[in-house]
């Protein structure tokens, strides 16, 4: 299970097993989507699979996630998402009403994201060989001219922005999956980020890196970028936008909000002289109105993320190994 957690084990599976087996220059970039040259245009192409449990949760469903996940991976290369495929893998015995509800959510999410679902596939596996509904999506988008967004482009001095509250999706899922109640219901923040990215790029085409910090949370995302770019990331813990509900749930379970999954949020590495403009552009959009700067890139400790603690000390923010485990006491 740890290999699906979005941390070190996931990265190793991709880098040491899949990438060498499939190897080519496009894949070797290991961005959220592949950048393809196509007769004068640049296309982005991405795929993702969705195995979330439960299928429906506060604020969304597996249908929303399957659309938004791939749409956002496209957006993280600066692309305008255009077309989507969907592959449904259904477990024998799952009720058609449930599949119908997922399909409706899928369609609604696609309309909201402004993408067309143009091809698909359905398979049924024997009872006991699935978990109700699994979905795979693949998507294609177009990268505007002058945009060059890539995990290796972070530079010392770059300002690190996050588009809003962190840890919300992970806590929402945990609350329903484990039957935990934290006083206030938390809804998943799943949302399509294509428009938000378009607004950001309109204000500043020279965004260096974009990433949506999903599995493995903000910590995994920042470590991946630090490692790919060979820069250090210096975080300010007091600046992290952690809502009370997330902080309470994490304190209760012994988890760190930096490692909890997000949806509908992006991290941007931008040139220091354009940071204020980028922040204003994010805040002008409903999905980025709580955007803040959380740190900057430094030449020290290349490949590592180091946070200033609230008291004035420092700590390394490491890549998670696999899934976070709640502590005993």
């Amino acid at each position: 299970m740890g290999h699906g957690g979005g941390g070190t084990l996931s990265a190793e599976l991709v880098e040491h097993l899949f990438a060498p087996a499939f190897g080519n220059d496009v894949l070797a970039e290991l961005g959220d989507s592949a950048r393809l040259p196509a007769s004068g245009e640049r296309l982005a192409f991405s795929t993702d699979s969705f195995v979330v449990r439960p299928l429906f949760f506060p604020g969304g469903s597996i249908g929303d996630l399957a659309v938004n996940g791939t749409v956002n991976d496209l957006a993280m290369s600066g692309a305008r998402p255009l077309f989507l495929s969907c592959g449904f893998i259904l477990e024998e015995g799952v009720e058609l009403a449930v599949v119908g509800k997922v399909a409706e959510a899928f369609g609604a999410a696609a309309r909201r994201a402004g993408v067309s679902v143009v091809t698909g596939d359905t398979k049924v596996v024997e009872a006991g060989h699935g978990d109700g509904v699994f979905i795979n999506t693949a998507g294609i988008g177009r990268i505007p001219d002058g945009v060059d967004i890539h995990p290796r482009r972070a530079r010392p001095g770059d300002v690190v922005l996050v588009s809003g509250a962190i840890g919300v999706h992970g806590v929402a899922i945990m609350s329903v999956r484990e039957g935990l109640e934290f006083g206030v219901e938390t809804e998943s923040d799943t949302a399509p980020l294509g428009d938000l990215v378009a607004d950001l790029l309109a204000a500043c085409p020279d965004v260096h890196v974009l990433r949506d910090p999903t599995r493995g949370g903000l910590a995994a995302t920042l470590n991946e970028i630090a490692s790919a770019s060979g820069v250090g990331v210096a975080l300010e813990e007091h600046a992290l936008p952690v809502p009370d509900t997330v902080a309470n749930a994490c304190a209760f379970l012994g988890l760190d909000p930096l490692y909890v999954a997000n949806e509908g949020k992006l991290v941007a590495f931008v040139p220091p002289d354009r940071a204020d403009v980028c922040l204003a552009a994010l805040r002008a959009h409903p999905l980025g109105k709580e955007a803040v700067a959380i740190g900057h890139c430094v030449p020290d400790h290349p490949g590592m993320v180091v946070s200033a603690t609230g008291l004035g000390g420092t700590r390394v923010v490491d890549m998670p190994l696999g899934e976070q485990l709640p502590r005993i006491c």
């Binding site: 008291l311 004035g312 420092t314 700590r315 005993i328």
Partner: protein, 373 residues
Amino acid sequence: MKYLDEFNDPVLARHLFDDIRALTTQPWSLMEVCGGQTHSIIRHGIDQLLPEEIQLIHGPGCPVCVTPLEIIDKALEIASRPEVVFCSFGDMLRVPGSGRDLFQVKSEGGDVRVVYSPLDALRIAQDNPDRQVVFFGIGFETTAPPNAMTVYQAKKLGITNFSLLVSHVRVPPAIDAIMNSPDCRVQAFLAAGHVCTVMGTAEYPELAERHKVPIVVTGFEPLDILEGIRRAVRQLEAGRHVVENAYPRAVQPGGSPAAKAMLADVFEVTDRSWRGIGMIPRSGWRLSSRYRDYDAEHRFSVSGIDTQESTVCRSGEVLQGLIKPHECAAFGKQCTPRNPLGATMVSSEGACAAYYLYRRLQVPSTQEASSVG
């Protein structure tokens, strides 16, 4: 946020750092007993901001770390049985036994489940009357009462397919053992606040007097820990050695009578082996004779376990405060959270894991404590 932010306030922290600096005239070594305190100290960088005369020594209070290898191997054997649903808190799943861990048993087909309460395990037993449900009951005085209550409930409800694999340990005998060691460097203890919430403070005055050592009952948030350190240093500087309660919002001198009554009914004190440290007399609990039927070791007759500890791991010395994690030659090399040689590296409360996660890179502090805030 009430109960979180107010015990993490940088301005109040600065005052406490200033007080500690003003009190300190010579080197002192303080042991925080609990792994949760160690985690908080390293996570917030408290050790970096204290005067250099104050040395914090990390104690044995990580329940995952001190669970003996033999018990973990027994857990692995029981969890591998097809008729068993094996339930555990999350952080036990990655703890290495002699050859593998519970995650591996799960991936090989064992029915291993993470639960958030022992009562969840009891519910699984009720829902699966044809399976044997085993809960891994480890930890200190903090986790023992709910585990005791679950066994009590199982008996009351007549649920016969539930049992407990017990490895509970008690803090006061461990403090005594540390102070009796000829290599002991500890001059004061920050006692674990949540342990005292259950048990009260009655066991500590005799220890403080016999070993001439201040014992300050301390909480887990940054300001709690700083207040505990301040009071311990104040006693050391004044040549005093009494028990103080720096965690009064949670700890009553008598502890929790209901929890203690439940413990007394279900458990009895026994000698217990601590991983990395060895046998400490009267330092553990086992199910009392009235509840022997609910003892998983008894039910599954697990014996003949041949344990194999790493020959290079020095976690035992780390647990006794004799060395710091990075003083072990294997730290960060052969031994990482990915490939832990000892439990102090695998548990998130373990001192080695805390050093690896938060202190791998020694970044010089750019701010003096007096400028915090």
